[in-house]
Structure formats: structure tokens, C-alpha cells
């Protein structure tokens, strides 16, 4: 900040997201803030300046704001990727998708040769057996790689892992293991697949690895690098209880205080069940208030609390209203799971609401959304408060009536648009059926009903990339190539607004970020093509040069 010198960046075009001056050619920066936007001539009135033509062939727009991701998006890159789709790592290297069992085995064999310590567990992630044709990958395939080194492969769903025989031997997993979820073959021998956390946790060395990685400084850096690579300048790590743990706040400070750390981070306090049966002593309220009031810096922000109310739609654990799921697996109880007792939610929301915090609540199903909306209404009746910006996260099946109510209550929405592409086909055929799938992730309804909204990736659940997420909201194309619910498509302009100002608003940062105008932070996404010039179908393919955060350029793909 202390730097008083003025730098003027010129660009092929600057998209400001400021309706009073939508486009410009130049932007002046002093310290980490924008001095002005306009022409070089206009900006010369600020006196002596350095003129940078670094971006003269690029498009500048406000840095994207990704209001729902997890630092785990950075942690997973501590381990090799064996998913089906190509995926770029934080260093910008593209990992080709493994489309057969043989290619999974080849990839892992290559990584195995690179490990020096013969006892080190080989951990990998991203496996998605739904896409792999033929037989299922099991321990015997992984045994081709090593019979002496433990191997642990996390599936993309996060619910399963596959391990080799050596991992089972070292973990004491055998035909007598009673833990549910230890899959066994016809002869009663475990086949290496561990379903759900209780079974996965038996292979402790592998299961614990990602949790350990999440705490590491490197994960925090890779998280921001991944953001930078797709033009995101502010990322929200939406919900952790780890801030209460020794050293984690300091670790975030250390990373974000480094001038070369390429992103701003909002770390949301995860509501914990701890103490919730006694609302007078919700210890997370004082933690969240203290962080917001005493610990914020330019690149590390607080003030958001995250609640999780239900499960996921593709896991059939989201709470959805009648007629519930169209084609659930055998034995399914009919509806999803609550993660917080519904009648307790109003008290929990009130405790944060009264402390002036903003509550973001994971609600995939519409029944969950209704319980949250009702809880916010109760909190408002008890304690009227303007401009709280409480936000429904995921908001996947939220109805028109619910959006109307959210608008009336001053609530925001963060819509999981990436689902349209990744699971849209399954939602139409298996989870909620055609009609409701067509109105899932209803950006157009949110817009029509006057709800301020954003869209998100929930990385690492789906890859971070706001141009891709905007593309989903604009085109609503599924993986099979069909348009799912054309009426819910929104314009490119509206999608870009959702990815900038919309997200900044629900993070309570729109006074600082989200548009390019005098006084705001100098955070830009630097694009190779103009999103208003390419066809809407090409939005996701626009190359990203990198970002500018607080006036400092960060080129994509660097380490």
C-alpha cells in the first residue's frame, strides 16, 4: 500500500461491471487500489505515472470471486490424479484423464517409481469408476503396481477408496473385518474397495493423508494458484472448524501476507455441532466475531459462518420435498439426511445473526432450503436486521416460491451451476426426474425474482474455473450434450455479474471487489479473449493469462 507511485495499465478492453461506465481502455492503480478507470488521457490527471502496456492485447475484467470452494482443492494436488477427465494442476500442467483401468494402473506405476522411501503409502485421487468400462478396479489391479508398498486411491465422490493388498495387510483388513463398507468378493475376501468414511478410515495412513495435506502451507498455496490459473482473485474456503486449532490462523496469515500469494481468501467458520444443544454457549459465535473484528488483513477475510443442513442429490442424501427421489437405489429410506435437527436451526441461525455474522447454509434439496428460509425469518422476527445477506448455498432445487421469499427476506443464493454439466443427465434420469432437473440450479428464476446470486464449483467437488461455471449457467449443457432446462439459461452479462459482484455481495466484500472502479481493490482477471465477443458455447474455452491481485500481476501456470 505505502507505494504512492501510479501505474496505468492499458488493455484491449476493460469490462468493469460498473454500470455507470461498463467499458474502458485504461485503469490506474496506486498501491493495491484502483485510482481510476477510463482513457489514458483521463487518468493522466493523477499526475506522474508509469504506463504499462503488458496487457494491451488482453481483456481485463474484475477478478472472479469464487464464493464456494474448499482449501482441499489445493490439498489434493499433493497426490497424483487418476480421474476420467483431463484436469489442470496448480502449476498449469494438464493431467490427461485415465479412461481405462490400464491407464489408471500405468499412471500409478509411474508415480510409484518416483517414490524413494519403499514404505511410503502411495495415495492418489479422482478415480471415478462410473466412467470406466468393463470390470471394476479392485485390489488385484493395484497389486500389479506393488505388492510391498501400500496404495490408497480416493474416488472422485469422496465416499469410497480402493486399496491394494499390502494396504489391507498393514491395516489388518481381512475376511473377518466386521466394519460395514469393507466390500468382499463372492468368497468373502475383501476386494480392496472401502465404502464410506468408517471403512476408509481403517486404512489410516491413506485416509488421513488428505486431512494432513489440508493443514499444510503447500495446500494453501496450491489453492490460490489454482484460483489464479482460472482468473479467480478471491476464493472462499467455505467452512472449516480447523480455525479453532492451534496454528491454523497463523498458517493462513503467513501464506496470505506473502506478497506473492496470488489470491485473497475468505475463510468461513464451519458451524460445529459442538455446543449446539445448548444455544447459550455456542462457542463458534465468539470465534467468528473475534476473527472478523481482530484478525482481518487485506488478503484474509472473515465474517461468514457455514452451516450444512442436508446431504447431496447424487448421493440421495439431500432433503427434497415430495415427490422425493424418482429412482433411488434399493433400500433407500425415501428422503435424505439432516445434518442439523431442523427445529434447532432457527436458534443456531439466530445466534450468528444476532452477532452480526452472515450465515451461508448448504441446502441442496428444496426441503432443506425451506427449513433454512424459515429459520432466517424467525431470526429476523426475533432480531430485525437489515442487509444480513444470509445465503442459501448450492440452492439446487430451490423453487420459485422460495426465491420470492428469499428476495422478501433479503437473502442471497449461491447456485451450483456446475451440476448441470457434471450430473445433469443423472438428475434427469435417476435422482429428481425430467421436470425438476430442468429447473435445477435456476439462475433465471433467481434473477427474475430479484435474488442476488452467484454460481460456484465447490472445488474440489468439481474443478474450479469461473468461465466454465458461467458457461454452465449460460448454456445448461450436460456431459451428454443436451440442453437441460433452456428456460433457466441466463445471459453472458448476468453470468459474469454472478461470478464477480454477485459473489462479492454475499461475502460482504462488494465495497472492495467485484467491479473495477475508483477506490476498489485492483484485482483483475486477465483474459485472452473477450467473453462478449466469443459465442456463448465458447465461454469456457477462453484462455486465461492470469490475474492481478492488489496491483500485482500473477501469470497462470507459474509456481
Amino acid at each position: 500500500m505505502g507505494d504512492a507511485s501510479v501505474k496505468i495499465f492499458t488493455a484491449k478492453k476493460i469490462i468493469t461491471m460498473n454500470p455507470a461506465l461498463p467499458f474502458a481502455q485504461a485503469i490506474a492503480v496506486r498501491g493495491d487500489r484502483i485510482l481510476g478507470v477510463g482513457t489514458v488521457e483521463d487518468l493522466a490527471q493523477w499526475g506522474d505515472h508509469e504506463l504499462s502496456e503488458q496487457f494491451k492485447d488482453h481483456i481485463l475484467m474484475p477478478g472472479f470471486v469464487e464464493a464456494h470452494t474448499h482449501v482441499m482443492a489445493g490439498a489434493v494436488w499433493e497426490f497424483p490424479y487418476v480421474g476420467f477427465y483431463d484436469r489442470a494442476d496448480p502449476a498449469g500442467r494438464t493431467w490427461l484423464g485415465c479412461q481405462t483401468i490400464a491407464s489408471v494402473v500405468d499412471r500409478l506405476a509411474e508415480c510409484e517409481r518416483d517414490l524413494n522411501d519403499p514404505d511410503q503409502t502411495l495415495v492418489a485421487w479422482g478415480l471415478d469408476p462410473i466412467f470406466l468400462k468393463g470390470e471394476r478396479l479392485v485390489a488385484k489391479h493395484l497389486d500389479q503396481i506393488s505388492t510391498t508398498r501400500p496404495i490408497f486411491v480416493f474416488h472422485a465422490s469422496g465416499h469410497l477408496a480402493t486399496v491394494n493388498s499390502e494396504m489391507m495387510r498393514r491395516s489388518g483388513i481381512d475376511r473377518h473385518t466386521p466394519t460395514p463398507g469393507v466390500a468382499k468378493d463372492a468368497d468373502g475376501e475383501p476386494n480392496g474397495e472401502l465404502q464410506e468414511p468408517a471403512a476408509m478410515s481403517l486404512a489410516q495412513d491413506g485416509f488421513a493423508a488428505i486431512g494432513v495435506a489440508m493443514m499444510s502451507p503447500n495446500a494453501k498455496w496450491n489453492y490460490a494458484r489454482e484460483a489464479r490459473n482460472c482468473g479467480v482473485t478471491t476464493i472462499a474456503d467455505l467452512g472449516t472448524t480447523r480455525l479453532a486449532m492451534d496454528g491454523q490462523l497463523e498458517a493462513w496469515r503467513q501464506a496470505t501476507d506473502d506478497p506473492s500469494y496470488p489470491a485473497r481468501v475468505v475463510v468461513a467458520v464451519g458451524h460445529s455441532d459442538f455446543g449446539s444443544e445448548n444455544k447459550d454457549s455456542n462457542p463458534m459465535v465468539s470465534l467468528a466475531v473475534r476473527l472478523r473484528d481482530e484478525e482481518e488483513t487485506a488478503k484474509l477475510r472473515f465474517g461468514i459462518v457455514k452451516l450444512v443442513l442436508d446431504g447431496s442429490i447424487q448421493g440421495f442424501t439431500a432433503r427434497i420435498s415430495w415427490p422425493h427421489y424418482v429412482n433411488p437405489p434399493p433400500g433407500h429410506p425415501g428422503n435424505g439426511l439432516w445434518l442439523i435437527p431442523p427445529e434447532q436451526l432457527a436458534d443456531i441461525v439466530s445466534s450468528y445473526h444476532e452477532a452480526g455474522l452472515t450465515v451461508h447454509c448448504h441446502c441442496n434439496g428444496d426441503e432443506a432450503a425451506q427449513v433454512f428460509i424459515d429459520a432466517v425469518e424467525t431470526a429476523l422476527q426475533r432480531h430485525p436486521r437489515w442487509d444480513h445477506r444470509h445465503t442459501v448455498q448450492h440452492c439446487q432445487l430451490t423453487t420459485t416460491a422460495q426465491y420470492k421469499k428469499m428476495a422478501a427476506l433479503g437473502m442471497n443464493a449461491n447456485i451450483f451451476s456446475n451440476h448441470i454439466f457434471h450430473w445433469g443427465d443423472q438428475h434427469a434420469s435417476i435422482t429428481v426426474g425430467e421436470e425438476r432437473a430442468a429447473r435445477m440450479d435456476a439462475c433465471a428464476t433467481a434473477q427474475r425474482e430479484g435474488v442476488k446470486f452467484s454460481v460456484h464449483s465447490d472445488a474440489p467437488i468439481t474443478p474450479m474455473g469461473h468461465l466454465h461455471t458461467a458457461w454452465c449457467a449460460v448454456n445448461r449443457l450436460t456431459a451428454s450434450g443436451r440442453v437441460l432446462g433452456p428456460e433457466e439459461r441466463i445471459s453472458v452479462a448476468k453470468a459474469l455479474e454472478a461470478c464477480t459482484l454477485g459473489a462479492a455481495h454475499q461475502l460482504r466484500l462488494d465495497h472492495d471487489i467485484g467491479s473495477l472502479e475508483a477506490g476498489k481493490l485492483a484485482d483483475f482477471a486477465v483474459l485472452e479473449k473477450d467473453p462478449f465477443e466469443v459465442s456463448p458455447e465458447e465461454l469456457k474455452d477462453i484462455p486465461v493469462w492470469g490475474t492481478v491481485v492488489g496491483g500485482t500481476p500473477h501469470v497462470a501456470g507459474s509456481t
Binding site: 464410506e196 489410516q204 488421513a208 439426511l337
Partner: protein
Amino acid sequence: MQPSEGLMEVSVIGGYLGAGKTTLVNHILRQASERVAVMVNDFGEINIDQSLIDSRSDNTISLTNGCICCSLVDGFVSALESVTSFRPKPTRLVIEASGVADPGAVAAYGHGPGLALDAVVVVTDAFRLCEQIADPLIGQTVVSQIGAADVIVLNKIDLADNLTAAKTELAKLNPDALLAYASHAEVNLDLFFGREVVRTSDPTSHVGKFESRTHESSQPIPRAALEALVENLPPEIQRVKGIVRLAEAPHVAMVFQLVGRNWELRALADRNNSPDGNRLVVIGPKGSVPMEWDNALNSGK
């Protein structure tokens, strides 16, 4: 069989919000005659008595339905690890699941390293049960919890005016579970401590039909009479436990444990807090548990 030496037995306490889980945990802490570690949602509600609790984990633990795609599984596994590393080692871990958690899913952790799952105890609110089961929002949650139980504690019977309806519902939802009635969650711990012996061999199914009976008497019993009693047990009885006083040493309360045909007697550790008289719980398949033991127990008279 009894868990092998050094394993910590795990009791999972589930049940919907407000049913009395915390009250039951407090009751366990007051009554237990062994070293108990607890993992609960809210330590603020636990009456911590240093003589009863060996250790506690300082970690925040959220025992709910979380998973990586919906909410990160934060802390639970590491909290479990730290509990198993407590020294001196507790012999039992009592886990209180959250009010909406599926206790069966929590119990799945009870087979982890160093652990042996004992029983899943689900506390229900006799006063509100029928209303909860019919509730469109929480009905399925309550029903699933009951379905996961080895032992159901029908609590708050002092408040309920219609126990029959609640009993009928429970019998329908989980006919295999042992049903215990309580107010203020005061139940005989022998009903669910040491239940692993009556688990069926299929670990995925819950306990088969069984029953348990408590026999009490006031006079010390001669050792020979006790031995005769054990000798004459029906072969289906696999488990007896409780506290007896022998006529040969009436001032010492002894813990009696029978597993299969093996049994032992050892002095109760906490002598200041030992009950008078004999109290034995006999557990076996339905119909096999002797009705008339009290006379035999009193044979020393």
C-alpha cells in the same frame, strides 16, 4: 467371545434431539465400574466428575452425517485416534452421536483399530415418540435411528400418558432390539455393556432376538452355591455379569463375569462406592433365561 485383551469396547448412544442422550451419558458416568472415555457433542452438559472420567478429548467433535462431498469429515477420526491413545487406557468408549446422526453409521467406526463395538443404544422420548415418527421432516430420521438400535431406551416414561402406542411403534420398527424403560435415562448398564456376545455372527445384521433378566438378592452367597448356579445354567446362556458378595468374604463386592463357559470373579475396584447385595444380569436367547434365580441366589441364607 469377549473382546481380546486391550481392546476398548465401544458403546454408541444415539437418538433424536431432546430424547435424553446426554442424561444417559451422565448416568453412565455415575454408574460405570470401569474406566470410561466419552466423546460427546457438548462437554458443557456433562457433569464432569474427575473420579469417573479418566480423560477427555479437547477436540471439537461433530458426530453427524458428514462426508467429504457434503461436509468435510473433520476431526472425528483423529479424535478417535487420540482416545485410543489415552493412558492409562480406558476399557470403554461411550460415543454420543448427534441428534440427527444415524447411530449405525457412527457405530461403523466401532470396529476400528483398538476398538470393539459393543452395543448401539438409542434413546427415545416416550412423550414425543409417536408425534416425531409422524413428523414429515424428522420422521424418517427417528425411524432410521430406532432401526439401528441394539437396545432402545424408552425414556421419560414418567411424562408419557400413552406408553402403549410408543411400545407398539417400537415393536414394529425394531422387534429385535431389547427395550428398556426409564425416566431420567436411569437404566441398568448391564443391559448394554457387554452385549457384543449376543451379536449374531453376521456383523451387518443387528442382534437377534434375545432377552435379559436381572436377579437381585440381599444376602451374601456361598461360593459353592454360586458355582452350582453356573453349572446348571441352560447351555444357550452365553453371558452373565453383575456384582455379588460371597459368604466367605462378605465385605468385598466382587464383579462376576461369565462369557461362554468361562467365568471369573474379581474384587470391585471402587470399594467406597460398592452396592450391597447381589445383582446379576443374565442374557440369552428369548425363552432361555431362567425366571427363578433369586431363590438360588438367596440359598446362602
